[in-house]
Each structure stands twice: as structure tokens, then as C-alpha cells.
Symmetry: C2
Subunit: 196 residues, 2 copies
């Protein structure tokens, strides 16, 4: 950031009064330009036990397989963003969304929120940002052609949890070195609940 | 937004090629300035069945009671943001965080994520943005002096769920008219899981 988006003058980086972090501040109109993480919302669309995946037609990871997901927009709820991205990228209509993974991708300032979703009808097609769309059973997943670590994690969790028949929320933190730390499933935290 | 934060020239609002929404676009350096929702992260700190709350020393809602929460910063995970805000606003150290409410506040482009958390020691004090901090039992909650609808919702859910001894994730959407829509607890969605 070089200039103030309000008045057009040059900004400087400094810690505003009462703050503890450097911000881009305009010395002319005193606007403080905060920068915060973005939400990426998406779905794990499930039809008859198979997962709907998209092959990316855009960078990064052109040609790699991913789940339908993208940046949440102003004026919508997270669940609406996940549904919209699935419609836009896979031309698919999902229902019964259940929040399943919340992944803080710290080094890129993103929080990815993926929902388990029902794909009632096997109707789908490639959207503008997609080369092809397909349903994959567990043994068909293109593990070595996945676009992102977060997609790999979500699919691993899904197939493991499906064996148990329950899908606890998965809370994940990924750092720059791309090792990820998985918390315990939230609602299995018996000890916490005992305190309450 | 009036000017490009990259080159300082005036921006215009238009729908970029391949996009479906109007964005602020710089005709000089072609930068597209996306605007997306922010995450507000916080805690419901619980000590011996009582909830730690803060009375706001800042606008909006100066003097009203709230839960420790604030904007997630770049370079941190959601859970870290909730822990930090609790430390900054209530000088309190929480542990065993469990994501409990995810509220899309559509008309202000925010997603509030509140965690149930243990407050092992009843040690707390007013931070810079707080007038006072106190522990409240269910019958002591200042319901008519709460700062935000989201805080009211979270506390209502908490005391209701505590009677059942389980705290399912609560997925909420609030619109401008301030009526809120509550989804079913996610992990009670038996029908969905049966499909999987």
C-alpha cells in the first residue's frame, strides 16, 4: 500500500495511538487503513458417497484438482458464499451445509471454511474458472494432483470421519512451513463441557 | 474508496472482465481493489459456571456489556485472535477454546466467531478499551445492558445448551433488520450424515 484510498496522499507505516501494531496511516486525512484476513468459503459436495471436485482453469495451481471454494463477498453469509462458489465453479446446487473445517492459513492471511454439503442431483459442469468437474469415490481421489494442502486435509478428515459416521468440526492452523496442526474435534472436548 | 492505494490515481467502479460484481478498479495501473468481510473473534470465558464480560470503554455501545472480542489480525489464527482479544480487553488468560458461534452479520460485512473457553483462574482486569470486567452467573447477566445482538444470542445459546451438557456449533445469519436466523446445531444433522 502506497497511497491513501480516501484522499490519494502518500501513506506511512506507523503504530497509531492506542494501537500495538504498525498500520498504513494517512498523515493528510488521518485515515488508518487496517488490513485483515480474508475468508475463503467452499463445499465438500457429496453425491451417493462420491465427492464433487473441480480441476482449476486459473492460477495458482492451474490444472490441479480442488474443492469448489473462493473468497467470501461483502453482503453475504459464509454459508451463502460456499453455496455460490459451488454454483459458480461446478454449476452444482448443494444443500444441507454443515461447517466441517476451519483452517487458518496464517502465512497468506486467509481463513478457509469448508462445509460438508449434499449434492442431491448428479448435475454439474465446468464454470468459468474450471477445466472439468467430476465425482470421485475414495479410491479415485487424485491425491497427487490436488491443488492445496487444505483440500488434502479436508478429504483425509472426511474419509476418516465417514468410517465413524460422525463429522466433528475440524479446526486447523497452517503455517508457512506448510506443516499443519490439527486440534481435537471440538465437540469431543468432554473435559471442557464438564467445566460448564 | 476514491484513489488507488498502489499508484494514487482515481479509481472507478466497474465489473472487471470475468467478474460478476462491481469493484474499485484503477484505470492507471489496472489494480482491482477487492473488499471482503472481516472476522471478529472472541471468547465466552467460563470460570466456575460464571461468564467473564467486559463493559465497553469505546464506541460503539460505550458503557454496554460485551464478551471479549475484536478484529482478527493478519498473521494469526482465529483461535489466537480470540485468545489475544480476551487478554487485551479483559487481561484474562483462557484455555481449551471450542468454536461455538459463527455469525454472519451481513449488513456490516463481518463474520463473528466466538469460542467457548475455560478461564482457569479468576484473574482479570480492565484493558484499554474496557471500563470494567466482571464474572456473571446466569441470573446476573445484564441482559438489558448488552452491547450487541450477537452477544445476546451467544449467551442465550450457552445457557440453553449448558442445561443439555453439550455445545453444538451455532451457525447464525443476521440481516440489517436485526432479526436473526438460527440454523440447527450442525452436528445434530443426522440426515446429512446418513447420506454419507
Amino acid at each position: 500500500m502506497n497511497f491513501c484510498s480516501q484522499c490519494g496522499q502518500a501513506v506511512e507505516q506507523k503504530v497509531p495511538a492506542g494501537d500495538s501494531r504498525p498500520r498504513y496511516v494517512c498523515g493528510h486525512c488521518d485515515t488508518i487503513h487496517y488490513q485483515n484476513p480474508n475468508i475463503v468459503a467452499g463445499c465438500i459436495p457429496v453425491h451417493d458417497g462420491r465427492i464433487l471436485m473441480c480441476r482449476r482453469a486459473i492460477e495458482p495451481r492451474y490444472g490441479r484438482w480442488t474443492l469448489p471454494a473462493g473468497f467470501m463477498e461483502n453482503g453475504e453469509a459464509v454459508e451463502e458464499a460456499a453455496t455460490r462458489e459451488t454454483r459458480e465453479e461446478a454449476c452444482a446446487i448443494v444443500s444441507n451445509l454443515q461447517l466441517y473445517t476451519v483452517t487458518s492459513i496464517v502465512h497468506v492471511d486467509q481463513v478457509q471454511m469448508l462445509y460438508l454439503a449434499d449434492l442431491p442431483h448428479a448435475k454439474f459442469a465446468a464454470g468459468e474458472e474450471t477445466l472439468e468437474v467430476a465425482l470421485f469415490s475414495e479410491d479415485e481421489i487424485p491425491w497427487d494432483q490436488l491443488a492445496f494442502e487444505t483440500i488434502h486435509n479436508a478429504l483425509e478428515f472426511y474419509f476418516a470421519d465417514r468410517k465413524n459416521g460422525t463429522f466433528p468440526l475440524r479446526h486447523i492452523r497452517i503455517e508457512r512451513n506448510c506443516r499443519s496442526q490439527h486440534s481435537q474435534p471440538d465437540h469431543n472436548a468432554k473435559k471442557q463441557q464438564a467445566h460448564r
